[in-house]
Symmetry: C2
């Protein structure tokens, strides 16, 4: 409910923010993001954030309207960074197998990173209290990855060796992208989230390879 708007009572949102104020505001958000991601909403107290970031609780109410506003701002800022390596991967000119393998590796490495796992855990627990954040996570996560896969698939299938075939219905490509995403991420992510140790390099590579082989089989069989 509370964004960056002013608090209901007490200190008003400043109309003329100081340079120092802006720095404190940013510092609070960064520190809060670390702590919230690591230990969840209820696991972190405002006093702890203030102690680690400097400033005072007064700032939190002036800048973010309260604990909930700070949480939303901190998480939203952290969301975009998780899949950065995937969206920035350059796959132009790569053949189907090579490009999918590279994208799949980037995805699984991003998803199994400690930060992504912690963010996932924190967000899923707070989707009830902050529905907007849940939707934002899906958009910045699975939806973004699938779009990246679909973009590459469309190019690779249009320009591939079997270019004589149908160029690939967009919806068919979207399904393919979704299946690939799920085959790469599904099980390894679940295990990383619920068990203690995430999968090692070999297991990740094997999962990606299996998913790539499956997509190739689907492509070869498509009519």
């Amino acid at each position: 409910m509370a964004g960056e708007a002013g608090a209901s009572t007490g200190r008003r949102c400043p109309t003329r923010r100081t340079g120092r104020g802006q720095a404190t505001c940013d510092r609070l958000r960064r520190v809060a993001a670390c702590l919230f991601v690591a230990r969840g909403y209820d696991g972190v107290s405002l006093d702890e954030i203030v102690q680690a970031a400097g400033g005072s609780k007064t700032n939190i109410y002036a800048f973010y309207g309260g604990k909930e506003g700070l949480f939303v701002a901190a998480i939203e800022a952290a969301l975009g960074e998780v899949l950065r390596p995937l969206t920035e991967a350059d796959t132009r000119g790569l053949a189907l197998e090579e490009g999918l393998t590279r994208l799949g590796q980037a995805l699984i490495d991003a998803l199994l990173s400690p930060k992504a796992l912690a963010l996932h855990r924190t967000l899923i627990g707070e989707t009830g209290r902050f529905p907007r954040l849940g939707a934002a996570w899906y958009a910045a996560g699975p939806a973004t990855s699938q779009a990246a896969f679909a973009g590459f698939l469309a190019r690779a299938l249009a320009a591939g060796e079997d270019a004589g075939r149908a160029p690939g219905d967009p919806s068919e490509i979207a399904v393919l992208a979704r299946l690939f995403h799920d085959m790469v991420a599904g099980d390894l992510q679940q295990r990383a989230l619920f068990e203690t140790e995430p999968a090692g390099v070999a297991e990740r590579a094997a999962a990606v390879a299996a998913a790539v082989r499956a997509v190739e089989a689907l492509v070869a069989r498509r009519g």
Copy 2:
């Protein structure tokens, strides 16, 4: 740390539990399961559980050793029930497509049920505090489903129309089962967990159908 053992201090664990006591013990666990699953560990107070279930806080310490013990007992009891319809599904004698479709439907319906979603959300948030529960969830969830798929695949491939082929390496079948599981559950489960409305019947059926088609393509191509 605390199972059903006695509390560290205060009232000791009774050596001769009364009939009424047993009933209260069960009622506490059932009510606690509902509340914990719905609102998480921190979201429920002992007073609330006691008020809803009858009995008194004293029982919680006598029977379960404290809040953590009650949480573990309640969640563990709830774990086994989620995938009941999947493990009880009878697929003997069914062909590949029909059996996979039935199993896939059972899986997705179980995973998207409100109870399973709430349990998933609660557990994932508490995996840090209760690692044992996270592992138990994976074992009772994905691992169980995959085993069910693998069992059916082994039978179907051995007895199928193309029985003349290799009977199917067990590890190959396990990979196939994992891929099928992930293709059925992955995206729809993510969306249900993070967005507000779970997918409808049509979308579920489409996801299952796509996964079944993919498995058929893989089976046809295997060598």
